[in-house]
Point group: C3
Chain length 445, copies 3
């Protein structure tokens, strides 16, 4: 909306004194530690926590959801994820010795396996009843992990509630090259997550950073599906074409969009897939980390973009380590979201129609958190499809000449709806069957 | 006072155990944030906040009186000072884009002018009633600024109480070269302000750093005028001359003294003016910054001292960036006041007659703060003279041979009184008229 | 104790979610500031606080038991230890000027002597009654110090309770070279102190870092003597020899053990003495510093180990400044104790028989702290012997072939007891007399 300034009767210029700067964060969403409302909700899902390629022969001290943990691969090649401190005298297992059966504390040699069992207490007499009792009743806190395509995932919730590891359709696209990467943000996870269902920021913050045409705002719509999916679409006119781009969030933190560079709306395309497949994982209340695959190949961005530098641009629009001057010159997502501060004062936000996706997903998380607190487990992505879970993040470019030389928003909205309807209809199909169905339907719009 | 140690009957040596080290700060003076007693009082005045020469084509994130603000010059050359965060989704305007009409948020392109008006919300439909409403009812916190002689001043108090920008006599001295500078202190503003009405520290801390003769303590007197001026004078005997130096504080934080290097008492001088014209501006409770002009020319220090290095010496007696060893060897004001800690424990002070100026100004601020809390606005420097405000910071050296070969303190005190009386009588005069009157009267002492 | 993992019926693998990571520290022992339970107890003893060799011609700002203090040697060569801040306007005395009679504050020239007396207030008139009163009634907090063998000791407790400076036998060993050193730890003093009466960690953490043979666990026993001594012994079989190593803690924080490199059990030795004579001194709740002498000569480690590098290895098993990778490769004491965190969550410990020394000394400190709070002063090391205090930290290697080719623990235990009994019997003897008695008795085992 553009208006002339309206210094009307009520307008008081230079009124900063009468406006409080600081407001309250939405603590219910912002806090991620054990025992917090949202922390408990987040603990019901698998999250990527490390890059396989960075796990060598020494333990790694990491922080996830506010917990300090030690990750290691034992000499039997099993990956262990355990609490940081030895239950004996609290030494850090980051200095532990890795062995075939697990990890041995550096201080007094207690040996633990990846399940958390205490296998040896070597400093005690062989017949010590107190040592025997400890080995039977105590254990090291441990979590299950799952290694997949170069990312290590963990589940840190109640073991009796462990959900299946979800396989999304984009994990299985033929000929797709998936390159794992991680980017850290010095701020709360919510304010980074916000951007995925915010197609407006793409047209402003990222102007000139991705494909031409993304600088155009387009007609934006939001969809909510199956209590855990928030979808934002933007339909843009490019010459004789209409370009529908779909951003998606599967709760709590799985995100996909369209291509970063491959599509600009000038060439017809059916169901091109996401530049990234990405999880926004909380480290603690004031830090988070995007674990992701950059996707390259015919269905996503060209293979030439598969470099460390371009992965940074796919993640946030610009390279990451820049001078303050460069950041001011052309800010990326990191500048936008970290500039807000460690935890945003959500109370002071003024959300408008372009922020509807944000309102939808936050409200949905609130509801799911409260349901969980009341004893009702949150939905899992695998609820929709037990094998391969359909996702929608994509670009579709359809040849639809302007009916009378001037698009009405209604037409763009209608195309958004039609494209999403085709995707939803295909939910029960998999792989090539689904693609065939979607392509055929799209060709008939 | 010099005495032999008096390990009298009551003296317990090595009694540190029975003496508490830590005391309470005077929180009423020390706290400067919005809503605090002294913070509200300080907000009733114009303060320098930035050097014009350092404001380029990008916004600057600054902190003043505990508030995070963004300063910028729009492409129409108007200077804006606004709250840090965009009212939409709280992105920092330090990454904003500067335009002809104001500053545009990097995240979603909201445009604000220097008055705080929201000029554009481009991400919303042209007919959006909610966007229209926000543009009419919400605004970005903004403050008026005034650029003067290379310093940018701001007023961050209630707009309905905005005082006139004060023009002091020293801004208008003919042929004076005024060089703006800024020096930061990592401590509360009060403990830096203290030094201006503390002529004793000049004789000890600054021994050998400024003019010879300042190492002599002299006869010290304090004057309080018009509820907002605290003046400290030191009269020193130098050969056949008596040198009267006047330090002044105009509340809350405007300070002047005599020359740093030009005067040593050996040569007669009438009403030489201050080495600096300086404000001690709180950044937050634990940091402050001296914004100042160094004054050079016939009435102040010689032009050859107009260098970045000498400005540092004028400010604190020594260069600023030195090794810890150098600081220990010859401490300056920064070592003295930062060594006290972030906020002094005023409760533990033992103030004596040389600290009377400090007691006077602190009590005066307390009273003005309480008056303000009770609804009575504090006095403005412009109350005394609406055009050019007379100030007193100065050096005067008079030929007055010793009456009987030995000065009595009474004579020095009398000279202090006579000199100040002449200055006070001249309060209603301006410029050359005032100088003429003062010179003539001084010549008759 | 070594066992097969017992994933028995009750064992829940990956049960981290149900185990709280964080527990409570033992605040009673961990807090060391003035007025805290353990802080008051610690203040009843002399502690080393600085290396003589590092005290030059400028004051030193230090922190001990949570207090910020300034240490200096005046021009009369007397060492002063005083509170950080000048009682006048709270300037830090680290910027003070050292003079023949004491230290002069940089700010206004107040002069203090090492006893805390205010000798001069030069900024006040000679006849000022208020200055005179301050000089008589106020003083700078000061503490007595004692310089000995390159270490500066201080007593910061109530002056009326100042204990004698304790002279331990190891200060007086003929031909011993004592090299002072200091090593800082970024954690609470308790978790560093723990290691001295923990012979088990020597066999694991320090495997390969000290003498061969120390990697063997041995038969461990603990002794408590005179309410302030905790002794841990380890008897190891080495060929035809039994090697008895004695570690000792004299409360609150004096520690000794055997040699680091000189003894490996293969050669007979009677009453070889400690590699170090060491105090674990709290800086504040989250930092401590080991002040120590490394001992070299016939009775301790060979003189060739008297280098800065080897002193670091004696202190913690490895050099101190290493890469994180090196620390992971071969952790030393610093990695073990700092890895625990700033203050351990003692509540989460699981102490076993090897930790009995730790339980003993902690309980003993608790009791002594409570006695002190109830008005009963804690025991002093000089209570046992007013002149030279006997200590036990040592190595003894006795030729005792295996009775039937296989040691029973009972024999090793018996040797531990016999050796300690001889030491205890010798408590009333001094110097060569004591050595002669001990040697003769040991030769008869």
């Amino acid at each position: 909306m553009t208006n002339q300034p309206s210094p009307n009767a009520q307008f008081v210029p230079f009124n900063g004194y009468h406006q409080t700067q600081q407001g309250e964060p939405d603590w219910e969403l912002a806090k991620v530690g054990a025992g917090t409302v949202c922390g408990e909700y987040l603990r019901r899902y698998w999250h990527p926590i490390f890059l396989t390629g960075e796990l060598g022969d020494k333990p790694k001290l990491i922080r996830i959801l506010g917990e300090q943990l030690v990750l290691f691969r034992d000499r039997s090649r099993r990956i262990g994820l355990v609490h940081k401190k030895c239950p004996h005298r609290r030494a850090s297992l980051e200095f532990g010795r890795i062995e075939a059966r697990g990890i041995r504390c550096c201080y007094h040699g207690w040996l633990f396996d990846i399940h958390g069992a205490i296998l040896e207490i070597p400093g005690e007499p062989a017949d010590s009843p107190s040592a025997k009792k400890i080995m039977q009743t105590e254990r090291l806190g441990a979590y299950p992990v799952h290694e997949y395509h170069g990312l290590i995932f963990a589940y840190t919730g109640p073991p009796e509630e462990q959900p299946p590891f979800p396989i999304y359709d984009t994990f299985k696209l033929p000929d797709m090259v998936m390159t794992p990467y991680a980017v850290s943000f010095n701020c709360n996870w919510i304010q980074v997550l916000d951007a995925i269902v915010d197609p407006v920021h793409t047209a402003f913050l990222h102007q000139g950073q991705f494909s031409d045409g993304l600088g155009e705002l387009g007609e934006i719509q939001f969809y909510e599906r199956q209590k855990n999916r928030i979808i934002g679409t933007a339909a843009r006119r490019v010459g004789d074409n209409i370009w529908v781009r779909v951003n998606e969030l599967i709760l709590p933190n799985f995100t996909q969009s369209g291509a970063a560079f491959a599509v600009d709306g000038t060439v017809e395309k059916y169901f091109g897939r996401s530049a990234f497949t990405r999880w926004m994982v909380p480290i603690d209340d004031e830090h988070c980390i995007a674990f992701s695959w950059g996707n390259f190949g015919e269905r996503a961005d060209p293979l030439e973009f598969n470099t460390p530098e371009e992965l940074q641009r796919i993640e946030q629009g610009e390279p990451i380590n820049r001078s303050y001057r460069q950041k001011q010159q052309s800010p990326g997502d990191i500048e936008a979201v970290e500039g807000i501060g460690a935890i945003s004062d959500h109370q002071k936000e003024h959300l408008l129609s372009g922020d509807r996706g944000i309102m939808l997903y936050r409200r949905r998380i609130w509801r799911l958190c409260r349901d969980l607190a009341a004893g009702k487990p949150p939905p899992q992505p695998t609820d929709l499809a037990p094998n391969v879970i359909p996702t929608y993040g994509s670009d579709t470019v359809l040849k639809i000449p302007q009916p009378d030389g001037n698009d009405c928003p209604a037409l763009l909205k209608q195309i958004n709806d039609q494209v999403m309807d085709i995707f939803f209809q295909a939910d029960t199909l998999e792989g090539a069957d689904r693609d065939r169905f979607v392509f055929e339907q799209l060709s008939q719009i």
